[in-house]
């Protein structure tokens, strides 16, 4: 498909010649689309994200990013904030950037994540939610076109989590980012994504398109349906085991 930003074709990933993490995954992701990858633990969600990020290579098949300068256009945000504890917040934002106007841009992003007053603080002085917002700001430093989120909100409390979801959604929509979110939380997926992909048996077996401008009821319905799909997989696995 020509209008896709990320195109994944018949990708397989096998670890140590025996453990199949991904089996024949094919997927097209359009520019500006928000995708959520859900499924049981060990279903291959994170592996697929790491392949797209270029942190790992597929055993066979192709991951193509349809852009000239693919790497700096893509940023990953992990479950752990991965901030460098010996650098101030401002230096953490600036360290990966080669730009001359880095500092001004970093301050702009700190304002965006509502932490302007913390530029000179060290990460140890921040709460978990604040650190994740800094990690988000760092991911946005190079003006990426693709944002890869590997369960970034998994360790946060419910309220902080909800605030972060809104912040990420807002930024992704305003900057028209192509976003892939790996999450365990089906409701989070139903709230945020345009399209939810359920990973089953190491492949993408089920897709759910989410309605635009959805209300709480619609989110609940989508979440239930997706959860049903995952539970069905769980039952099948129990029977075969």
């Amino acid at each position: 498909m020509n209008d896709s930003m990320i195109s994944i074709k018949n990708v397989n990933k096998i670890y140590n010649n025996q453990t199949t993490a991904l089996h024949d995954v094919s997927l097209d992701i359009k520019q500006g689309e928000f995708i959520a990858l859900v499924g049981m633990s060990g279903g291959g969600k994170s592996t697929l994200l790491r392949l797209i990020a270029g942190l790992e290579k597929p055993s066979s098949g192709n991951v193509t990013i349809n852009s000239t300068d693919s790497k700096s256009l893509m940023r990953v945000m992990f479950q752990e904030d991965r901030l460098l504890p010996w650098m101030s917040v401002l230096d953490n934002l600036s360290f990966g950037s080669k730009d001359k106007n880095t500092k001004a841009h970093a301050l702009e992003l700190l304002e965006l994540v509502e932490l302007s007053d913390y530029a000179d603080h060290y990460p140890t002085q921040l709460s978990g939610g604040q650190k994740q917002r800094i990690a988000l700001a760092r991911a946005l430093m190079t003006d990426p076109k693709i944002l890869l989120l590997d369960e970034p909100l998994g360790a946060l409390d419910a309220l902080t989590r909800r605030k972060m979801q809104d912040l990420i959604l807002d930024i992704c929509q305003k900057q028209n980012l192509t976003t892939i979110l790996v999450t365990h939380d089906v409701e989070e997926a139903a709230r945020m994504a345009d399209r939810i992909i359920v990973m089953k048996n190491s492949t993408n077996s089920y897709e759910e398109n989410c309605p635009k401008n959805r209300n709480a009821g619609q989110i609940g319905i989508v979440a239930d349906r997706v959860l049903g799909e995952i539970l069905e997989e769980n039952e099948l696995q129990k029977q075969t085991a």
Partner: protein, 270 residues
Amino acid sequence: MQKPVTLPITDQKRFHLSINKILPFLIPVIVILFWQVSSTLGWLSSSVLPSPLAVLQDGIKLTASGELPKNLSISLYRATVGLLIGGGIGFILGFINGMSNTFSLLFDSSIQMFRNIPHLALIPLIILWLGINESAKISLVAIGTMFPVYINTFHGIRSVDPDLIEMGKSYELTKRQMFFKIIFPAALPQILVGIRYALGVMWTTLIVAETISASSGIGYMANNAEDFMDMETVVLCIVVYAVLGKISDLVAKSFESLLLEWQHTGRSNA
């Protein structure tokens, strides 16, 4: 918008802070007072242990004659040069072996074998090779301080959080950037532990080396005083070593708090 909160320091907190500053000196002061009182009252014979006041007077006399400053500076010179050479070699070897598996396979087991020889056992060999001049004592200090710095640099580099290295890779850092921005700062706390340990080894080695074969230095001064039954100077030299040890520890600590400022910052608010 969230704002950082700075809490005011209360009087009670200030009192606790000043108590914390005094506490470490309490035991040394009590010991010295008890020692002085015992000497004055005649409970402690001056042939067993001279009084602190007598030791202090001896110190003033030897400082005025220039003997103490001369020997002190030569000991300091040997210690510093030995540490710089030994620590430097230890750091370079730790760095090379920490960064490369091939070099680690090639060098590490030989270094570990050499490390297990007590370095003071090399004194006879070093005297035979280098005589009793400066290079012999400096070499001994260098050998003694090399291993703590080596081991801690090696392990510091090897135990850098792989998540941070992966993050650096995803930000396309060059090898040089990866070392200076991630690996070195992450390994630094461990490297400084090695240097602090090496400082202790440095003084121990120097005392032994100067006592056995030297014509100057604090160790020589103590040994010479022993020949003349000069108890005050013997005790004075021991006190000088204790003070030097404490000063080097303080220097190492202030380096730590300067370079590892980030480790000492607490959460300012929730």
